[in-house]
Symmetry: C2
Subunit: 321 residues, 2 copies
């Protein structure tokens, strides 16, 4: 079992190459630009770790990990269009730099490229991998749609938001891990436990993401701090604040949500702090992390093989970027 | 060998069902709406015909044909966003009816659904099918990008336009036929000849499409007549007109292209007629049809088995909608 760090370096060496032809450059250079912005590569590496948990890395796992990372980048390009996000990883988003139509098409072709890598794997495992990849891809789209739907609703329950996050974020982490486990030859029970571990970890990961949007340090975070607040995105923080705020604070929050004040972010963050939303979020994150670890505990492999996954989970929920 | 008509009826019976879950309805009802608008179903049926040319229909051909039709509909939904098209098949486009973000996501999930059907086929044939499907899908995206690039160029050569049309339109017809042939067990030479037949047929098909945009009868055509002209799309007609027009006509054309006159379509069509672009287009169409038939002639199967494909080709290039 190799550490996340080591596997991430190996994956980066494998992944950081041109994935697209030269021409037409108007289509493919936006793709290479976006991939060149880097990223944490968590999903592909967790796939490799899922494989290594049970056996040596299957050569097909590199193809599947690459497909997963391309799929993730496809979702980012399209989500950035939908969210009208100006920045991604501190740089201009594809639609800002190249226009919306090109970004739309660049995303499409990124998704097709993901399937090109899946098309390389051994026919003996292609059915379970494609099945899981496809159902997960659809769920991620469902999550993004719910996310957009929620922007138009005045209030969203914690349960509905949780369901959306599971679809939009958790299932891809969970499926990445499970695909790795499938390629490593894991049995059904271990596959399922790893999927559950990934799902809970994904929720903890999103709590941290929501937390960083409001409380992160701009120079580390990469994205626009307060981006969720400016676009009136429902987040774990906002939903909880609306639940625990007193009548005055709740009214202030609603007024701020309806406004475009220059200090909207600052004022909403101040209410979050007054309601101790920051402390609550850290507790919530740890709750899901504990649940994730309970599933990992039950996976029937030697305990020491689980160390790298545990370390990764700790890193993901304590990162500041 | 069954006729296009008969196979189209069988395909319609097979295809006209719900392809998506009920929830979230905000995502999936736009998909069902768009599929419900119907269509000529040419590409999936030509896949079935490619199969039947060589052998009885392989059950997997229905999955592949379904994937092809879903892929085609994915491209239409996204192209309509990029082209800002108000109508498709006489009805509101998805982005007009449901908003651009939902249309973007509905297209994405339509593409994923296509791969769900591909994921059902026998692992013994999945590699060649996925390989051809993926490379074709990327080529179609390349064609759409070139099409958008050309809109910004003042002049486009006939050769460049032809290359774009091959990518955007022809390769999907060609690949549909070839995938059917692969599933029917055709040898490599027959597969390649059918691909060439499909490619030439695709060009003739597009010539007719461009022709109908300017000279079609609105009540039969379904789309907005003159839509290409209004969006300054380079077409076979416009490119040829700019080549053969005299200096006065050429200047008039350029002025009209730069304008948004209420009678822009009418005036440009009048110049097309004065330059005999309509007659030229019909000849061009027949040239490519003849070339297509020469390839079909060389396919090593009994001549009578080719009749339905010949009849379909005739229908496609003489249709008025």
């Amino acid at each position: 079992m190799q550490s996340f760090q080591l596997l991430a370096e190996k994956f980066t060496l494998h992944f950081d190459k041109k994935h697209f032809p030269e021409q037409p450059a108007s289509l493919y250079s936006p793709n290479e630009y976006f991939l060149g912005l880097g990223g944490k590569r968590i999903r592909p590496v967790i796939c490799l770790m899922g494989n290594e948990l049970v056996d040596e890395i299957n050569p097909d796992a590199w193809h599947v990990a690459t497909a997963i990372e391309l799929f993730h980048n496809f979702t980012l390009i399209h989500d950035d269009i939908m969210d009208q996000a100006p920045l991604r990883r501190g740089f201009e988003t594809v639609h800002k730099k190249f226009g919306e139509n090109t970004a739309l098409l660049a995303g499409d072709v990124m998704l097709v490229k993901a399937y090109e890598y899946l098309g390389k794997i051994d026919p003996a495992v292609i059915h379970p991998i494609l099945h899981l990849f496809n159902s997960t891809a659809r769920e991620v789209c469902e999550g993004q749609q719910l996310d957009m739907d929620f922007e138009k609703q005045e209030e969203v329950s914690f349960e509905d938001y949780l369901k959306m996050i599971e679809l939009k974020t958790s299932v891809l982490l969970a499926a990445s891990l499970k695909m790795g486990a499938i390629l490593g030859g894991a049995g059904q029970r271990n596959q399922d436990l790893l999927y559950q571990f990934g799902k809970k970890l994904g929720i903890a990961f999103q709590v941290q993401d929501d937390y960083l949007d409001a409380f992160g340090e701009p120079e580390k975070f990469g994205k626009q701090v307060g981006g969720d607040i400016l676009s009136n995105k429902k987040t774990f923080l906002l939903i909880h604040a609306l639940e625990v705020a007193d009548a005055t604070q709740k009214q202030q929050l609603k007024n701020l949500l309806a406004s475009n004040d220059a200090d909207k972010v600052e004022k909403i963050v101040a209410i979050f702090k007054a309601c101790k939303v920051d402390e609550w979020a850290l507790q919530l994150k740890n709750k899901y992390l504990d649940e994730a670890f309970a599933h990992l505990e039950d996976v029937a492999v030697l305990s020491k093989r689980k160390q790298p996954l545990k370390a990764l989970a700790q890193f993901l929920v304590h990162r500041d970027y």
